[in-house]
């Protein structure tokens, strides 16, 4: 049946394969993290995918702990973790630490960063920080309906090119874009889509030399570390938690696991 092949490539067909599993999280194949600023609709995306009804509210502090759920898609089971909404991953408040630690130590197979299409510039700060920590990410460009209402047009292909990860325009409240999002989550998790994430570049020479030097040291010491640059940035800032995780071997073990499994 040659016709079916065309259908399988179409996201709309695949969304039929979505099975919302609620809180049944046994034997999952992949872990998905949901990150992003507050008020961007992370919880709505979470509810759409899992069929759960976590209360969503558009003010910061709604999700202070992480919420977990599950779904199955293309015969693979995904565990999805809704992280607290944060503006950055650089400070030390509890909610930011929960988000950062999960992306770093929880080693999600895909991190979906949900951003508000009407406030792209500010949201990108967070995206760039996530991309320093993990290679495997999908950008969910949410609230495109509101952006349109405010006469904002976004070239999502150019955005994808600039960031080096898939970009899915969506309106989660109306469930627009969810099939495409699922498809990209699957592709990135399964390694069918290889991300080439953009790294933060600086104009400061001393900054760049210091970072480059430390990165090469780190890579020499821990070959296979997926986020050497980010570790270097944290070390240069004197982040005690990262220093400790190098001392007590948490980070090294992480690298080893990663190294031998992949």
């Amino acid at each position: 049946m040659p016709d079916n092949n065309n259908c399988i490539n179409c996201p709309a067909y695949n969304s039929g394969n979505l099975v919302k599993l609620g809180i049944n999280m046994t034997d999952f194949d992949y872990v998905v993290a949901l990150a992003g600023n507050p008020n961007t609709g992370k919880s709505t995306v979470f509810n759409n995918l899992t069929g759960l009804r976590q209360h969503t509210g558009n003010w910061p502090g709604k999700t202070v702990a992480r919420a977990e759920g599950a779904f199955a898609y293309n015969e693979k089971k995904f565990k999805i973790v809704d992280l607290p909404g944060t503006y950055s991953l650089l400070s030390t408040s509890t909610d930011e630490e929960i988000a950062r630690d999960f992306i770093l130590f929880g080693q999600p197979d895909v991190t979906v960063v949900v951003i508000d299409a009407t406030r792209i510039e500010r949201n990108l700060n967070m995206v760039l920080q996530v991309l320093e920590i993990t290679d495997k990410a999908v950008l969910c460009l949410n609230l495109v309906d509101e952006a349109k209402r405010h006469n904002i047009t976004i070239d999502d292909r150019a955005l994808s090119r600039e960031l080096g990860i898939p970009v899915v325009p969506s309106a989660a409240r109306q469930r627009v874009g969810m099939p495409e999002l699922l498809n990209f989550i699957f592709q990135v998790a399964a390694g069918e889509y290889i991300c080439k994430p953009r790294r933060i570049s600086s104009d400061s020479k001393s900054f760049n030399t210091a970072v480059d030097k430390l990165v090469s040291e780190i890579e020499k010491e821990f070959p296979g570390l997926p986020n050497a640059r980010w570790v270097a940035l944290r070390l240069l800032e004197g982040d005690q938690k990262i220093i400790d995780s190098i001392k007590n071997g948490e980070l090294v073990n992480l690298v080893k696991n990663n190294y031998y499994t992949s």
């Binding site: 969503t56 509890t94 409240r173």
Partner: protein
Amino acid sequence: MGSWLIWLKIIIILHDLIMAETLNPKEKLLNTANELRWEVGENFHDTLLESIYKNAADITALTVNHDNKGRKYNFDSVVDKVVTSRLLGFPIMFLLLALVFWLTIAGANYPSRFLSFILIDNIHPFLKDLLFFLNSPWWLTGLILDGAYLASAWVVSVMLPPMAIFFPVFTLLEDYGYLPRVAFNMDSLFRKAGAHGKQALTMTMGFGCNAAGVVAARIIDSPRERLIAIITNNFSLCNGRWPTQILIATIFIGGAVSPHLAGFVTAAAVVFVAVLGILFSLIVSWTLSKTALKGEASAFSLELPPYRPPRILQTLYTSLIDRTLIVLWRAVVFALPSGIVIWLVANLTVGGYSIAAYMINWLDPLAFIIGLNGVILLAYIIAIPANEIVIPTILMLTVLVTGNDSAGAGAGVLFEIDSASQTGNLLISSGWTLLTGMNLMLFSLLHNPCSTTIYTIYKETKSLLWTFVSSVLPILIGFVICFLVTLIYRAL
């Protein structure tokens, strides 16, 4: 100061360099990082942030096009100018709050009566007959039906309707985007009190449930300010206390004015107590930040999200499931054992008097000084697990002490009286006055948190000291305030 620090650092670096040969690779790496950090200088963090912003700006310039032409005004910013204006911000806040209460008070009456008719007037006698038919001993019937069942039934019939109205209405306001504006309005007040502006948000959460408010304090970065937010959260009238406020205000405040004004005055009285709670929250925050928890308020950014039309059906669903039923379930779980305790202290006798009678007599002198009575204080001791059961406990104990069972139930039996006026008659005939009513409303605001909240505070702070302070401070304030009000009232 600065120069010897630099020397110290240089010595440390030299020391580390010498040691580096003998160090393991991990420590070597950390030493390299230390040296480099020294080379880059102190403004590394700023350089990093600048780079992030610049990258974000570059990408935005390439991919986003904002067409501002043809737009005369922005709806959101017009609304924001009104609801966060210096002049109108607070009045609008209080009006909305009063409106929500008025809807709750006015709307909850009928379903409440209906539930109480089903659960207490019909099912309770039926179960009693059934147990009698099964030859159950009197004490077992008493424990299960008059203790556990009635306590739970009361909680359901009195709490379910107001919660089923209050939570969805509140959630709709929340979903529309009003709460961040409240935080925006309150921010300067909290900052002046030396607390974090986000405390306005945790305080608002506390209006639903203090335990939830305490957990929400995690959004505050600084440990000092987070602690202040946790300690003062109890000054937000929680959901378990709204019914007490509403009932007592209806009887003693609303009852004191002409009927056509009663609803309005009652709602105003409840808003007054809620605002008083906010005031205490600010005063205590200020005192703490000037004494035990000294420090400056830290800056933070608060986004005023765009107004979004709430999805009404989904909001109704989630607020009913997530909030109403969960809070109700918790109340029932706590009411069950408390009902048994109430029945026991009222029915176990020593030397001819019940344990409750002894305790009430013992508490009466203290209670008199602060314008309450022994029954109320004992009720607050028994009802530590849940504020929700304070009123039924008070009614039951009142009947026990006065022997006034004209309302239809026997000693030690938790019961509900159909209308507020009948409850009022019972209380007034037991010696309650306007002063008792007012002080009960104040004491309901200013007393120790319920046991769930106390446990949550311990879990969040991991400190017995701060848990103790959070529990004892409000009740001390309560005693002082009630004492002062009593002095003034009796002097008039």
